[in-house]
Subunit: 440 residues, 2 copies
């Protein structure tokens, strides 16, 4: 089976937006053993859409269209398909009811133009949109099966998984299985050296690497006639890759560092808190992106200005004046205070120079200090150190009798402001991950 | 003149790489007054390339190809063009000399396959590649002029500027200018209704809308014989669109809500602080993504767990027990405390249900309370700083020294956890933006 993907939108042919939908769809189709024959991109013009769809239906058995299903006058995919199908647009009552409900649920006014989205070429099957107002369409044109989905990526992806993926799975003839293994803290060339011959281009399973936002991922693609064979060969390569890369590997697939950290904390009934200067909430935002994070993330302090470091978190004025805000001593005190004030089991603190301004010869842009603190249990028998009951500032927390241990580490990160912040946040999560692994 | 852009590469039709070349070329062409009729993407397959180029030459006057000019066996654009041109591939001696020099300059070994890159269809014009080893090609096929350039973006861009741009400038009899206007807080269908006839598909300048992460953008394209006329007509439509959409418009081009808010705060020497529950640092992270944000962002509190709300920020235990953490009263107290404790001029507070768990009939997933507070007159909370009376910025608000004013608003946002958080964060920034505008 061959597929042609058509993207509709002036924003694409004007170059204002890069088409990511076609790549995403092609990758998903490839995973399922289906080859994409080509991508076509056309503007919001009914004639151009008709011409592209007609051509595609002559060349491929499946045509997948994204875009042009919105409520405005420049959304013309529906009309083009009606023209090709030789059928009028008729109101699809269940879709109208769903759109009305969508607006009602959100307490928003539905406009007349949204009603337009409930129109479908007579005879077409209407695909429910679980994420938005534009339903999709499925219809036969010539000998091809044509699908139209909204251009908004998350709506399109949800609709693909719900309506198209099951159909494809039922039709595919051989099995391509892929896995993605994610590492942090090791460069792409180091990964290449470690994997050596495994990365030869003529191998099957094939192993490749890609880098994205500080994370080096190893992609493995196993392509065999039977599912059993593809799975066996894939599992074998995955286990060799993992063994070679050790604790640099933090997850598979799309599982983030935050999810991994959260899972360990959750399993051990531990909590974490943050004190951020240069990343200013990014670490906390990453952690709380994880559903259910309230079980193990307490909260934190964003101490961007120095007066917030002192007033809100109690970092010493003198220390900041003497050592500078970006220093080991300050990050240690930030970590300590976050631990004590929150009553959490772990604390992460960050202070650094994200740039573009603020660098100096001793502390260039990219310098980041990260502190990792934990409450350690103290046995009363420890000579000379009387067990001090630390009264947590947080009401309702059982008093943790014990001492704290803080490790601070200096990083010199490259990239622009945005990349330095993101890498610093991930480096902090990775420090916590490695600590949790060691504590196992 | 119309152009079709063809991208060649298995990595594109397999979805391993997103095609950015086509968008870049379309944008550059649009700037120069040339409309891109469509994009075509095909795999590294000679038959597929031949078919695509033949089709394109029948539909457009110019065909611009990127990719498939490399030294390996899967680079087949050269062969496809020779087939279409009905001419054999012959060695282009000056190109061979340049490729040899390229390797010599870099002290690298030239392989036999690189020699392949000096081959060109007999009769084609060879385009020098200032950045790499693959020369480009220019030849006539049918009535169309066909250009082939390497797929490596920086080589392609350099070749476009050197060889294609001057030709286009000489030929273009018209100018296309584009603008993008960004709105927040108004749905796409509402924008459509407000713009009405302006969005008619046969109008010039043409007006279209696109939605991305809660932001509805209005794209305007002005296409006229002279630059003066294109500019005049564009400016006219831009001003009508802005007038019709009023304060929903927050920026043009790629300027974010955070940048807009930061610019106003900076200009007025005001500061802002945050107290976040459901967004847990996202608002602060967005604000501090802006370079120089330390001039107007102080920091904030991430009070994800209820015990952090009480212990770190001083929200009343009883209030949370009585009203729930997601309530007007709690968001008001969060706002108030953030204002007082930071000494900032403005405070934003958020508490809500991001999901997927935690919803209830009265407070379904997507319910978010946002508080916006300001010092009507500022008494800095930081000890040792002399209190400075600030004249209230809002006309009609009685100036009472040390008083604060808090507005709280309830939102019901749609989407998954990640989208609800992002939209909530943007809604908070937008509330502050509107307040700053009013205070003007």
């Amino acid at each position: 089976m061959q597929v042609i993907i058509i993207s509709v939108g002036d924003e694409l042919t004007l170059g204002q937006v890069v088409d990511t939908n076609s790549a995403w769809l092609s990758a998903r189709l490839a995973e399922m053993g289906i080859l994409t024959r080509s991508h076509l991109t056309v503007p919001d013009d009914q004639g151009a859409i008709v011409q592209a769809v007609r051509l595609a239906t002559e060349l491929a058995e499946w045509v997948v269209i994204t875009g042009g299903l919105g409520p405005t006058q420049d959304d013309l995919t529906r009309q083009a398909l009606a023209e090709l199908h030789g059928a009028p647009l008729v109101l699809h009552a269940p879709s109208l009811a769903r759109i009305e409900q969508f607006f009602k649920d959100r307490g928003r006014m539905m406009t007349a133009s949204n009603r337009q989205q409930a129109m479908a070429p007579a005879g077409a099957m209407v695909l429910d949109n679980p994420q938005g107002t534009a339903p999709g369409l499925r219809l036969a044109i010539g000998r091809a099966l044509v699908f139209a989905m909204p251009g908004v990526p998350f709506e399109m992806k949800a609709m693909f998984e719900q309506h198209l993926a099951p159909l494809i799975a039922a039709q595919a003839g051989r099995t391509i299985l892929t896995r993605k293994i994610n590492t942090f803290g090791i460069g792409e060339s180091m990964v290449g050296e470690a994997l050596g011959d495994l990365m030869r281009r003529d191998r099957n399973p094939m192993v490749g690497t890609t880098v994205s936002a500080g994370i080096v991922s190893i992609r493995i693609r196993s392509d065999f006639p039977t599912r059993l064979q593809a799975q066996t060969e894939l599992d074998c390569v995955v286990s060799v890759v993992k063994q070679k890369l050790g604790t640099s590997v933090f997850s598979e697939g799309e599982v983030s560092l935050a999810v991994v950290v959260g899972e360990i904390l959750h399993a051990r009934h531990r909590t974490v808190t943050t004190a951020e200067s240069c990343t200013a909430g990014l670490v906390a935002a990453m952690l709380t992106e994880v559903p259910g994070s309230s079980a193990w993330f307490l909260g934190g302090w964003i101490v961007y200005a120095n007066r917030m470091k002192t007033a809100a978190l109690g970092v010493s004025d003198d220390l900041i004046a003497r050592e500078g805000a970006v220093s080991e001593q300050v990050v240690r005190q930030m970590t300590e205070e976050a631990l004590q004030r929150s009553g959490g089991d772990y604390a992460l603190a960050l202070t650094g120079v994200a740039g573009p301004e603020g660098g100096s010869p001793e502390k260039p842009v990219g310098t980041v200090w990260i502190g990792l603190g934990k409450h350690v249990a103290v046995t009363p028998a420890v000579a000379g150190t009387p067990a001090v009951a630390v009264t947590p500032a947080v009401a309702g927390t059982p008093a943790v009798a014990g001492q704290t241990r803080v490790v601070a580490k200096r990083f010199l990160l490259s990239g622009d402001r945005s990349m330095i912040r993101e890498r610093a946040a991930k480096a902090a999560l990775n420090m916590l991950r490695l600590e949790l692994l060691e504590a196992e």
